[in-house]
């Protein structure tokens, strides 16, 4: 690397001023657009704004009809339903993870293309698969004219139909190389379930023991059912605003200290140079390059858990522990429990229950939770620093495999 001047960290010109969320549940059969409107109106009100102030929309993945329930609402539907007057918008799938839509909004606001952007993610996967099970929405399972293209052609013909299979091979290699065990990995799921019990919107709140985890059916070794997130219905919205415009509000904004969005090396599910990590390694590295803060400063970490192993990989990539030591770090759960907020050597992880127990809101749930924690508005599940104060530094990160982004946030 040539010596280059430190980057201009323009993302600090953007802040988060409000968040909102619709009803969340399993098979609640609500209209996706109605859920999106619920989340949007709540977020705009939470930000102290009116719809007339909203001049941007950013969403992942945009309006797509397949796979069933994966989307169904794009920029245009929301814009028209609320008759918004937009200067800027963006909706798309090929982004640095689901929260790439928020990174786009941050870039737009930082450059002055928009003042207040509603970012949203809406899913209705639980309703879409109804009572037919996950296999009913398997990619390409409908037969007929579908033929796999791009990356999927290299996996689907071999019955590697799901990211569960692709992540399982990464997890298995991590187990093999670093001695990680199922008993260790279990703590991602156990911690999530414990936190979900304090989240009134969480889907699964029954107590889960290590025995429960070890005895549940296997999906793709070493991943069992409880390593996989739960399809849900719900919409989450985040308002990104210009930092100057947010001065003097009743609620101080959540500040964006640094963003990581990198795509380096050969970031595919099976060609990545080190299959025990992923693109999130490079997103994390980029984020830390843009700040003087360190992992030791972080109070709460809301890290993607579409599959439990992804969370372990994020913990390592973000530097909460060394690469390969994630299993030891989470073992026993103490270093990731909500009580670890602000501790030296620990961090409160997935304080709302993650997607494993609170439902697969697909990335946006993590940012929503990080903001609530930093605002001290997380209710019964509010984390406290050892001095009794609310969290001051948080991370929200989403993505797995070739696509990832991370956000370092401060109160």
């Amino acid at each position: 690397m040539n010596a280059t001047p430190p980057p201009e960290v323009g993302e600090r010109r953007a802040v988060i001023t409000g968040v909102g969320q619709s009803n969340v549940g399993r098979r609640i059969y609500e209209d996706p657009l109605a859920m999106t409107i619920d989340a949007t109106l709540e977020a705009v009100e939470h930000a102290g704004l009116s719809l007339a102030d909203i001049d941007g929309i950013s969403t992942y993945p945009g309006n797509m009809n397949t796979p069933p329930g994966f989307s169904g609402v794009g920029v245009v539907e929301l814009q028209d339903a609320l008759r918004l007057e937009l200067d800027w918008f963006s909706g798309g799938l090929e982004l640095p993870g689901q929260l790439g839509a928020v990174a786009n909004a941050v870039a737009a606001v930082s450059t002055g293309l928009a003042n207040n952007v509603v970012c949203f993610r809406t899913v209705w996967e639980a309703s879409a698969q109804g009572d037919k099970g996950r296999a009913s929405v398997t990619m390409g399972g409908g037969g007929g004219t579908y033929r796999a293209q791009g990356f999927l052609q290299w996996t689907l013909p071999f019955g590697a139909a799901s990211a569960a299979n692709w992540i399982a091979m990464m997890a298995n290699l991590h187990f093999h190389n670093h001695g990680t065990t199922r008993e260790q990995l279990a703590w991602i799921a156990l911690n999530a379930r414990r936190n979900a019990q304090l989240n009134p919107k969480a889907i699964y709140t029954d107590e889960m023991t290590l025995d429960d985890y070890m005895s549940v059916r296997m999906i793709s070794e070493p991943l069992c059912l409880y390593d996989c997130d739960v399809p849900a219905d719900g919409s989450t919205a985040i308002v990104v605003s210009r930092a100057e415009s947010a001065e003097g509000r009743s609620r101080a904004p959540v500040r964006i200290e640094a963003v990581g969005t990198a795509l380096r090396g050969r970031p595919s599910w099976d060609q990545f140079d080190d299959l025990t990590t992923m693109a999130l390694r490079d997103a994390s590295a980029m984020m830390w390059e843009r700040t003087d803060l360190t992992p030791g400063d972080v109070d709460v970490a809301e890290l993607y858990d579409g599959f439990s192993f992804i969370t372990l990989a994020w913990l390592e990539a973000l530097g909460f522990c060394a690469h390969g030591e994630g299993g030891q770090f989470i073992d026993g759960g103490e270093r990731i429990a909500r009580e670890a907020c602000g501790s030296s050597g620990g961090v409160a992880l997935n304080t709302h229950g993650g997607q494993l127990s609170a439902g697969r809101l697909h990335g946006f749930g993590f940012l929503h939770e990080a903001c609530l924690q930093l605002w001290g508005e997380a209710g019964e599940r509010q984390c406290r620093r050892p001095d009794g104060g609310t969290p001051e530094v948080g991370i929200a990160a989403a993505g797995g495999g070739p696509l990832a982004s991370s956000f370092l946030l401060t109160s």
């Binding site: 579908y146 052609q153 290299w154 019955g159 299959l275």
Partner: protein
Amino acid sequence: MNADATADAGDETPFRVMPAVTVDNEHFWRGGAEGELRILRCARCAYWIHPPAPICPECLGRDVSPEAVSGEATVLSYTVNHQLWYPNLDPPYAVAIVQLPEQADLRLTTNIVNCEPSEVDFDMTVKVTFLEYPDSRGNVWLPMFEPAGEKDEGPGS
């Protein structure tokens, strides 16, 4: 399961999603008809390019064409899948990422066949075997891998 799966009622052929075969990937998906596993290679610097691309990422050469590899490989990682994803594609079966000896970064996702899934292991030596699969748009030869013989017994870990 989807009612509109292509298999006829009573046909227990495992359903497999087929790749969209094009001029750019046909060498890979149909090389098995001649018993060859074919990968694109750069005429200028001899770099193997997979997945196929119209340029060599090493030297930016544009003269790339398919060439047969040995068909040998080792298991880089694997998983035994227990979930029924497609009609009659009954679990358990082993999905693996195999490393080809021709180049350090040359890998494929595949199945390990002709052994019990529980017998698959890291660094296992395997060799290609083709599964011809019917497709109304032209058959495809899926490169599967089977045990090549004695497993490397590395030092106990």
